[in-house]
Symmetry: D2
Subunit: 282 residues, 4 copies
């Protein structure tokens, strides 16, 4: 028995749920969870199905053939994911320890279920944390940007990285990597996007005198802090909060918001639609 997730995307039309579920039923595939959503602006239908596949009856490849036939009837587009196969992760960091710690701790307790293959950084400050958790640490020298880009690409290749996590990595990612990891690279921004884009969001928040600060995780696109938002959270502040205290309050948000996004991604609960994400519940 294999635990799988299916993503289906097509133009909205009558009978579409019945069409796919009937096909799955004919293959003795047991649906555990089904969620659907229609985006109203361009009438797109999104569906996520979590199911059990009896491998002596159908293989994942066999299912893909059936899905592709169904897709062609409705001009849809399906993907199947093997929920039991762990994804390979690379974490990019600079100096901030808290989000890194949280990912490592929750990977250890299996709340996050993945293979963390490597931690990559342009500084050596966080190397001891890699050591604590016995994960390989690689220092990335950014003095020669084009060399660094090649090196990074080569690490991603070599480690067969499925998901890149920017856990407060304070550098721009080259477009070559952004494009290759479309919807597979997650950043945490320490501000409540779209407010306070770019650098020093807490300083800006303090100066503007906001009463609530936030953190935002999103897929990375070539435009800074403009990718599809996956998760956000906020915390109240008042006039007593210095910038330093805002940073401390924000840190707890950042790590929670980032871990939420990572979990949603690894559980194949996210589908994107332009700058919007559909984040299914379960």
């Amino acid at each position: 028995m294999r635990h799988i997730v299916i993503h289906i995307k097509s133009l909205d039309q009558r009978g579409i749920i019945s069409l796919y579920t009937e096909m799955l039923s004919s293959l003795s595939i047991n649906i555990l969870k089904l969620e659907q959503h229609v985006e109203p602006d361009d009438k797109l239908f999104f569906m996520r199905i979590e199911a059990e596949l009896l491998e002596d009856k159908t293989s994942i490849e066999g299912l893909k053939d059936h899905l592709s036939k169904t897709d062609s009837k409705v001009d849809g587009n399906s993907k199947v994911f093997d929920k039991q196969k762990k994804q390979n992760i690379a974490i990019l960091v600079t100096k901030e320890s808290l989000p890194l710690y949280d990912i490592l701790i929750k990977n250890q307790t299996q709340e996050i279920n993945s293979n963390i293959k490597t931690i990559i950084s342009n500084h050596k400050v966080l190397e001891p944390i890699s050591d604590q958790f016995d994960i390989e640490f690689r220092y990335l020298d950014l003095s020669d940007k084009s060399y660094a880009e090649k090196e990074l690409l080569s690490i991603l290749d070599q480690e067969q990285i499925d998901l890149i996590i920017l856990a407060r990595y304070m550098q721009i990612i080259p477009d070559s990597i952004v494009n290759r990891y479309k919807d597979r690279m997650i950043n945490i921004h320490h501000g409540f996007l779209p407010a306070f884009k770019g650098q020093k969001p807490y300083h800006k928040a303090w100066e503007r005198g906001v009463k609530i600060i936030g953190a935002t995780s999103h897929y990375v696109t070539s435009e800074l802090d403009e990718g599809p938002i996956i998760s956000q959270d906020v915390v109240s502040v008042d006039h007593h909060h210095s910038i330093k205290e805002m940073i401390n309050s924000g840190r707890n948000l950042e790590r929670n918001v980032l871990v939420n996004a990572i979990k949603a991604h690894l559980e194949y609960r996210i589908m994107t639609h332009g700058r919007r994400t559909i984040v299914f519940n379960q």
Copy 2:
């Protein structure tokens, strides 16, 4: 075209979504939204379908026949609701004006979509609000409890009340009415259940020194404040909050939580399972 909602409840089993959606598809019924949930403790399957029914093809009665045949295949239990038919509401109040105002205002702006037939109270304090919104107000004299019970039952009958709302009605409802309005009578409790059941929850909260207070809406059962919870919300308090300030802070919660519950009920988004509710998203 008629906008309907279908509730399906059965033992969880393979093929169940396909079975119902296929049947609907065969009747040219267009599914707008589908949500399902399995309660893990006794493996019960719950599904809510929102759909458009072409009345020249099928009537609601015709659909009921088909559903009942499908039900018998899986030992299920279905209900169909006409989303376009407004439900009749009776609101019971005592002296607290805010939740009453909110229901009346939101019924007026059609955020709540219902016929408010009557406001019933054991006090006359809120009669002017009924007048403001041109809703009939009935004073219920509780000095003779058994007479009052009969009178209340007769009003509910006469006005064909579908849903009773206890908007801070500070009296016990007789069991005859509780039983008749099972899952159709909603109470707002001004405390974060199951803490602070019964009277004076804010006083108890102040004495216990809690840092967060809450409000809870639930279906009424014969046990005080023990019915299935529909909606809850909370607000932070600190040592500065006097009991009176807690009451003020709590008031905003109460009305929001109550209106949320009413909307979920009127949109047929709630199914119950013992003391738990399944509140569908949409």
Copy 3:
């Protein structure tokens, strides 16, 4: 016995709390609450004192003299407010009923303690609500802007308005009025400032795919949506929320946030410092 509030602002320096409290003590003024705050950027000291003044011992005018002497010792600046004197309010609205309702209801229950002198609008949609609460409604014809400005100024004069509330008034306020009502005109913006300034914030939020929406009340300055923020609140949304549902969710926020700001203002709990507000607790 008169209930007063004192605001003190000066450069931060040693002994300042003792200096003022000693003076008050010498006048037999009983301090009920004292809060202070130092803004770190330019070392400004802010203090709010709530106190009881025995009128047979000192008048408010007498206190002002003493304060002014103390001010001169530390180059400070004090103000005294009479907490028992109700402030006169003008509410400006367009078509949105909920924030208006909330102010009127809470003024009626005395949670807001003020004289609402007039409701002014460029539309007649909300006139029936004025009638419900027996408040004078004035229609402001904006076809001749300069005439409308004069008329508005004359109403504010005539009614001796202390505080202007823009309860979703969708028009620009002329600078003449903005300047005159500096720190005495409160707007509610239906977005989480500084994100989504200007018009249609919910549409922008939907398109950007944010997971949390907000509302912001602030003092009005000549720059649109840039005045000092008094209060903010947020609510979570997800992909299911249509723009219309966002608007509905936001409405509850807007009124709460606006009423919070009004209460803080009327209780003399707000001091401003550039674009920042100090909102004292009590």
Copy 4:
């Protein structure tokens, strides 16, 4: 220059702030922050002052003498704390790693400013985490309760422990230790007290069908989960959440709530009044 905190508690009376601040001023002590609060039930006055003491002018001992004289005038009770002296901490744990990790991480980043002297546990599961952070781990064998109590007392003595943290320590603390560490032993309860006291709060919450779960940190008293609450936080859940998912959601709360309480305690921001805490802002 020494950074100190003063706690003052007395019956509420006129002139009390002036009396203490004047005395401090006369000793050239610079007040950085002052907060006061009156508990309305028994008219008790609480004040916290954060100040800078010029050690060539006054010693902490000298200040204590002056405070004691002032206390005697108003029948008050003062305490002085040296903010620069790190407190010694013992952490008691069982098997849950997340709160322990969070304390250790935040002590490392100096968000928590203390000497963590020892981690004590009735299991060996968390010993590797002690090793990661180079803190001494002591296994406490509970098979002989009276021996274990003696051993625990002896560790607390030997390490001169100022604060005991129960970071999900699932055992009852003997009264001898509870009494000795009154207002100096903090527990985290994984439920929203006073609801769901005792064991398995998440199971109880699931069965009751609550829509919000919480965590509570409190000082330990001899009555289980009845001590003064320091900090609480909550998170929304819905019917989708299994008990396991509730536990995961709750874990993030627990550690945040516990760390908040620890920080408030170490910064001398907490005063207790029966079952209530006054938690000052700054």
